[in-house]
Point group: none
Chain length 194, copies 4
């Protein structure tokens, strides 16, 4: 398994840094190789091509991201708490690794639609986590039982994603994690006064 070899991870880490620092289009394979301390050709012993590096970056990082969230919400008692935890961790993890935040929110979106499809596959487990929270909430009758799961998931993910993107584009000038409570309330209570 190539993924356990040290150079594989060196290249992944180098790629995140290079992309975050230089932007997607200025991230030549040779630059990643240099930062990883390997020869250009060595890259191709571990990755099929440049696109494969990007997908792998996302897979590795997103895998950890999701594993972390999945684990954390297991202990929570109900859908409401789980949703809140998911929001907090979504924000916290990207706050703590701003290179990763730049790469996921800005740079990776510059890829072509075919690459984006693959990225969506990587994202799917995360969307499934969101879906299961929604379903659990309906079962627990904490959430309304008539919810369209797909639409709700798009609202939740769209809101989180847009919030993080704005924060990155505003140069991370404010505290993202502090927004979690308010975002949670908005999603659960809606805009209407009662």
């Amino acid at each position: 398994m190539k993924k356990n070899k040290p150079k594989y991870n060196q290249i992944i880490e180098a790629a995140v840094e290079v992309i975050a620092e230089n932007g997607y289009h200025a991230s030549q394979v040779s630059k990643i190789a240099k930062k990883a301390g390997v020869a250009d050709g060595t890259i191709y012993l571990y990755f099929k091509n440049k696109e494969d590096i990007l997908i792998s970056v996302f897979e590795e990082k997103m895998g950890q991201f999701i594993a972390h969230i999945t684990e954390a919400i297991e202990n929570k008692n109900n859908a409401d708490e789980k949703l809140f935890e998911l929001i907090k961790l979504h924000f916290r993890q990207l706050s703590e690794d701003h290179h990763l935040a730049i790469v996921t929110q800005l740079e990776l979106r510059q890829s072509n639609p075919s690459l984006r499809l693959q990225i969506n596959n990587v994202l799917k487990p995360y969307l499934n986590v969101i879906d299961s929270i929604i379903k659990e909430g309906m079962q627990e009758e904490i959430f309304r039982n008539s919810l369209n799961v797909r639409l709700v998931r798009q609202m939740i993910f769209g809101t989180l994603d847009e919030t993080v993107t704005n924060w990155v584009m505003k140069d991370r000038k404010y505290n993202l994690v502090e927004q979690a409570t308010e975002v949670h309330t908005l999603l659960t209570e809606g805009l209407h006064s009662k």
Copy 2:
């Protein structure tokens, strides 16, 4: 005023089509020129460079998009109706011009960060429209008066954007406009059962 000259619009329309059909990175200037029925050099009488074509496409189309929505919600009686109208028109306009939908939801996101800043400027008036609806809703006491306008706007825009992007990525297999009511309810009522 160059924008009134017919070739300007020919090029804009050609650009939308070419980008939607071929993707951003496979959209050579020569391809756009050919589709527009002008010489390559003519492009540069109307646009500073290739990036300028993209920005102009977005400006023109987004300008109409916003103008249409702004006008339509003027007649509505309260924030709730305005928000609903905005959602419907956001969905309807992109439904009716699927080339434009592809370009705005997928291709334009491949641009570099500098271009994205300019795109954000074009988007700003639209976000302002959303903001004013939120503020009006608070004044009318239809919406809760403690809302964080920026966060709410991010929730609304993020939800609409994610919804349209998913619809485009699913090859527009279902009716987008029909989702408007449900999305409106989700945004205003939230997830919680009452």
Copy 3:
């Protein structure tokens, strides 16, 4: 005769200025047209193509240059005085019109060899003037009678040309005309001590 029409001269004068200010390769036809106050297309009513403008510039200016020198040396009594007068006027005329000096010494040399051949034709009457001074000097027995006219002419012209070019390249920081006496002595007396 086109040369008597005012626009012809406007274009010639504009061309000298534009080339001197921007350099040969940055001197687009449109720039010359603008400075001359005519439309781009109008240039082509007076000149066959861009190269023709350059040749005409050189013809016009060199014509005056030679006419002036020819006239001035007519009154001189012998070859020695004529040579001295030629040196002085060569230096003085280029000193007094530094745009022309830049164009003839630097910019026009960037032209292609075919153009350079035509420029040499324009130069020929000037070289003939030098030749006739040499021949006269031999007849008058002021100059040695065994001189190879072509070589002497190359020495004289080469020396003047190199001197002016150096002066232009040194940003005309010293007085060129003051060098005339010394150059004349060098050419006539040579390097050897007697």
Copy 4:
């Protein structure tokens, strides 16, 4: 040291030939690469850009040219003999490599002023050699002691340069080296009969 690699020299030699045969402006990088037997991209492993090829051509060739002359005049006994040797070698070296002669006398002069400055730097050691001969001649009292070194150098270099250029432009129809004696006499004895 890149200059010792065979491809570096292959490209230099190819560039001289291509420029001499096609002229400066018709010498595409791809043409040079083809003649050198390397890929287009390989050029850029050895040279910064197209202009850098030209400067390097001149540096390499002029370096040899000057080294050869410097070495040869070392053994000569006085300034007079040294000057004569310099003239002979200047003519002989360009005679023997007519591609180089075309490039230095015609094609390289088409370069822009910025490039010309760099070429002048390459030329400087040669001008210094000429200067030192002049100074030695004055010390040895072979040359007049009141000579203006700069002007004399301009006379010598200007004469040689103009002589070679004429010979190239006349398609090298006569023997250049045979002119050396006469040119030497002209420079040292001047035009005046004694």
